[in-house]
Subunit: 333 residues, 2 copies
């Protein structure tokens, strides 16, 4: 609350954030607001997601990766809705002991991801944090009017697909908290690095967005674990679902860890931070969805089916018995 | 980083935030993203601004006022750009010791301001803060394509107007930090309360937005003090300006304080947190602007003029000498 001023906010913005604001509507961050002129007939898709030191990332994580994760968890939601990113706004609360090299890394991380995902900074705010770094990003996406794919459209008979692999991030976090698990799970150093990286850096499935938009009856991104997120999808769709856990797509590393400790299936299904897409595809659209996913270069795997009852989903073990999971999901709270 | 889950995030959202999400595009906060369908021909105006405990407000401020301030500082920017609010997204980082009555107050404050300013919650994210409360809001406004009023359009001969009164918030903060000043400044209890309230609760000048859009050649909101913000406007407009400080609109309370301590002019011009509009009006538009401001019920006062030189603005004392201000503005950083 000190009225003492640090006169450098304008310079800080000029140095680290203006280079990211390449959209003409960002006015080079030199005005109070940005503008965006969506093409006529566009629906905007809006998402805000925040990450905080000590909660969503470790206080000593490199800031380029923190920046990328903060952007990517938002882009992941756009992908799940079938939308194309139009731009983003950034609100960053800096700890008192921030260093210029950290902010330079933050900016560099965003620049790399802007190039990777064809999106740019529209505006932002830089404040001091009461304690650790807090990054809040709002993304804006666009799609043709009335074509958004919602959570609530799953219908009995739909096939449930997930993109990529599940559980890597949760296992990466477990390793981070207890590095001795790498040996307990018989992981190679490459496998350990794979899991660690997947925790630090999710992969938003934007290349899959158009296939989702064209074919899915329901879709969402898996951020709190398949268990909890599928429960949310079935609840709002007023359906149920059955997932065969033996069909869940796993990385080599996750498969090896699961081989060493069968109980890890709970963490894989319930751990969260996957940022993969969960989509319900009508049987008639399965072939088209799979073909377009293949063309987009994103692996998709059928893991179960949607049923008619308005009850929570079931997760079946390889022997056909229902798995009772230790945790129903990972709420970041 | 604890993987421990609080399973209550969904319930918390349902209880305190869903009632605010009245726009159909918010999907009652039950989907990953919100949608917004701007009318064809609309330019979106985007702003994100964050406030943090201990930096922008006192940790013991009532949460309904914190919520209102967080929303209002963003709405103020829309007003300055001539835009109408379309909706907002909220990112809230809660301290570990948050209480339900605080969150209820936060929600109530937003509900009251939603009604006052005809805007509603489109989406949000609730996370745990590393320490104190941090609130980041992104507002979306709209206006007819290519009619945004920018900072950089001020032209020689334009008349500089400010809305409302200046300095109240800075004086209110000074009082908060040192309550004995109320006596030193000979303030009545009403006057003291007025200044304290203006610090806690800015008044976004949305009713003035249309007059600004129709008549101003440049406009911005005054958040870091007239001194710094006018300097920004003249710099990007490549002009200068002269302000007669005797013409600055002051409340009775501020006028009394200034009478007791003439040095306070520095705080009034440089203190910030005014959230009033600074607009440059071409001479031919002055009559129309004043008439529309009057019709909108917002006081506007001419305080100076724009000059041709590309130099920093001057602030003239009543005797015509240039004031050298102790501080050129209040950067929240």
């Amino acid at each position: 609350m000190s009225p003492a001023t640090r006169p450098h906010e304008d310079e800080l913005v000029a140095r680290y954030f203006r280079p990211l604001a390449t959209d003409p509507g960002a006015f080079r961050l030199g005005d109070d607001c940005a503008t965006l002129s969506p093409p006529d007939g566009t629906d905007l898709v809006l998402k805000t997601d925040a990450v905080a030191a000590g909660i969503h990332f470790f206080a000593d994580d490199p800031w380029d990766l923190v920046a990328k994760k903060a952007l990517r968890v938002n882009l992941s939601d756009l992908a799940a809705k079938g939308a194309r990113p139009l731009g983003y706004l950034l609100s960053i609360a800096l700890p008192a002991d921030w260093r210029e090299d950290q902010l330079a890394a933050f900016s560099r991380g965003l620049a790399e991801d802007q190039a990777a995902f064809d999106v740019s900074l529209l505006g932002g705010d830089t404040i001091r944090s009461p304690d650790g770094l807090v990054v809040s990003i709002t993304v804006l996406g666009g799609l043709p009017r009335d074509t958004i794919v919602r959570r609530g459209g799953a219908r009995p008979g739909d096939v449930l697909y997930v993109s990529g692999t599940l559980g890597d991030s949760a296992l990466g976090l477990a390793l981070r908290l207890d590095p001795t698990k790498a040996d307990a799970w018989s992981l190679s150093s490459d496998e350990r690095d794979h899991l660690a990286r997947r925790y630090l850096l999710p992969e938003p499935r934007l290349p899959l967005a158009e296939a989702v938009r064209r074919h899915a009856s329901a879709s969402m991104d898996i951020s709190d674990g398949l268990g909890l997120d599928l429960t949310r999808m079935t609840r709002v769709s007023k359906v149920t679902a059955t997932v065969e856990t033996a069909r869940l797509p796993l990385s080599t590393a996750a498969r090896r860890a699961l081989g060493a400790d069968a109980e890890l299936i709970g963490r894989i299904v319930g751990g969260g931070d996957d940022y993969e897409i969960l989509a319900a595809i009508p049987p008639s659209a399965v072939a088209g969805f799979e073909a377009e996913a293949r063309a987009a270069g994103v692996a998709v795997t059928p893991v179960g089916t949607v049923g008619a009852a308005d009850t929570p989903p079931s997760f079946l073990a390889p022997d056909g018995t229902a798995l009772v999971l230790g945790t129903s999901g990972f709420a970041h709270f």
